[in-house]
Structures are given as structure tokens and as C-alpha cells.
């Protein structure tokens, strides 16, 4: 099997990386619409403790195979020009970006719907775990709603 594309990056996703990714699409002049979703670590307060950071871990082999499968299904369902996904691993501090999903198509409807569906599937189906680390260094395992 062809090795699936990596989506994981160590630490937070820098805003400059998002700008670079957008700029690279300027030569793709069949694109009319880009939809971008960014997940940012919230400084939630749980039992009077503030979340300082989330530490992400994954079962990488399984996650990349699943992501490949999701990617193929979304490309089959929507007429997209491009699709890019990045997820952080390791420590991401409150206020930093941990997820970057980017879809592009000729028209807005497809880009927007594909992006939303990707985000929902990534949260539900990728074997990734977040550990919420509080400011007093205690922690709890994050639960997605």
C-alpha cells in the first residue's frame, strides 16, 4: 500500500504556515472558494482549574490510514481542487492552533460543506487523544462532545 500522507506536526500550528498554504494556491486559478477551519485550545475552567495546554498523542499508523480513507471519501463526494489537513501532536498551549483543515473548490458551497464534514469526521474517527493540563500541573483526559 502507498504510504498515506502524514498530517501530524509537533506542537502548535503557526499562523505563518496557514498563510504559506493559502499563498501556494494562487497558481491554482480554477479555485474560487477556500474554506478553512482552525481548532484553538481553549483555556477552559474545570473545577476551578484553568486549562494551560493540551498534550496530544495518537496511534499514528491507524490515524493515517483512517485519514486516507476519509480523504478519499470526501474527494469522491465533493468536487474539490485541494484538501489539506494538519493536526498537532505534543503540547499545544491555550490560545494556540491545534487543527487546520483547508478545502478549495470552484464554488463556495462544496468547499464549505467538505470542510465541515472533514472536521466532524476528524474529531469522531481519528485515534487522537488530548490530555488537558491545568495550570497547577494536574490533568484530565479531554472528552469530545
Amino acid at each position: 500500500m502507498h504510504k498515506p500522507k502524514d498530517i501530524f506536526i509537533e506542537g502548535a500550528i503557526p499562523p505563518a504556515m496557514i498563510a504559506d498554504s493559502i499563498a501556494k494556491h494562487q497558481t491554482k486559478t480554477e479555485i474560487g472558494a477556500h474554506s478553512i477551519f482552525l481548532g484553538q485550545v481553549r483555556k477552559d475552567v474545570i473545577n476551578e482549574q484553568q486549562v494551560a495546554a493540551i498534550e496530544y498523542t495518537t496511534y499514528k499508523d491507524m490515524a493515517l490510514e483512517k485519514m486516507h480513507e476519509i480523504r478519499e471519501e470526501i474527494f469522491g463526494k465533493y468536487p474539490l481542487t485541494c484538501m489539506h489537513i494538519y493536526h498537532s501532536l505534543g503540547i499545544v498551549n491555550a490560545g494556540e492552533i491545534c487543527l487546520f483543515v483547508f478545502t478549495s473548490s470552484a464554488h463556495r458551497k462544496e468547499a464549505i460543506e467538505a470542510c465541515e464534514e472533514l472536521v466532524n469526521r476528524i474529531k469522531a474517527e481519528l485515534p487522537v487523544w488530548g490530555k488537558e493540563i491545568f495550570e497547577n500541573e494536574t490533568y484530565q483526559w479531554k472528552q469530545n462532545k
Binding site: Y56, T57, D61, M62, H87, K123, P127, W129, W141
Partner: protein, 76 residues
């Protein structure tokens, strides 16, 4: 030799990721052995993947199986 067991998140924490049992022939037998060795596992939710596919029914394990213990996903 024997099957490989991988654990993640809270299950990695509970088990310490070191596993040693007698031969287990299927995932139901594995769950029993795990929960005997690590009683705290009885109180956490986790699913099992065999060779990177999440299983929903009892599944035969062989010597080359890669079993993963997966607590609820919380990426993004």
C-alpha cells in the same frame, strides 16, 4: 513471540503499557485477561482495534495480530 498490544491515552496510563498473559485466542478472552490484570479497566470506556480496524464483535487473534486499546477519541 505472541500478539502485540498497544495502549493509548487513559488506557496506556492504567496499564503502564506492559502486558504479559498466557495465550489469548480472541478479543473476549483478551478483555477478561486485561481486566483481571488491571481492574481499573473495568471502569473506563475503550474499544479494541485489531490490525488497525476497530472491532465490534468478538474477533479471533493470531500470533501476528496487533491489538490496540483505544479510549474515546478526543482530537481536534
Amino acid at each position: 513471540m505472541g500478539l502485540s498490544i498497544l495502549a493509548f491515552g487513559q488506557v496506556a496510563e492504567i496499564t503502564g503499557m506492559t502486558f504479559s498473559f498466557d495465550h489469548v485466542s480472541d478479543t473476549n478472552a483478551l478483555k477478561l485477561a486485561l481486566e483481571k490484570a488491571f481492574p481499573a479497566l473495568q471502569h473506563v470506556r475503550y474499544t479494541i482495534a485489531v490490525d488497525k480496524n476497530t472491532i465490534t464483535t468478538n474477533t479471533i487473534l493470531n500470533e501476528n495480530s496487533v491489538v490496540a486499546l483505544l479510549p474515546p477519541f478526543s482530537g481536534g
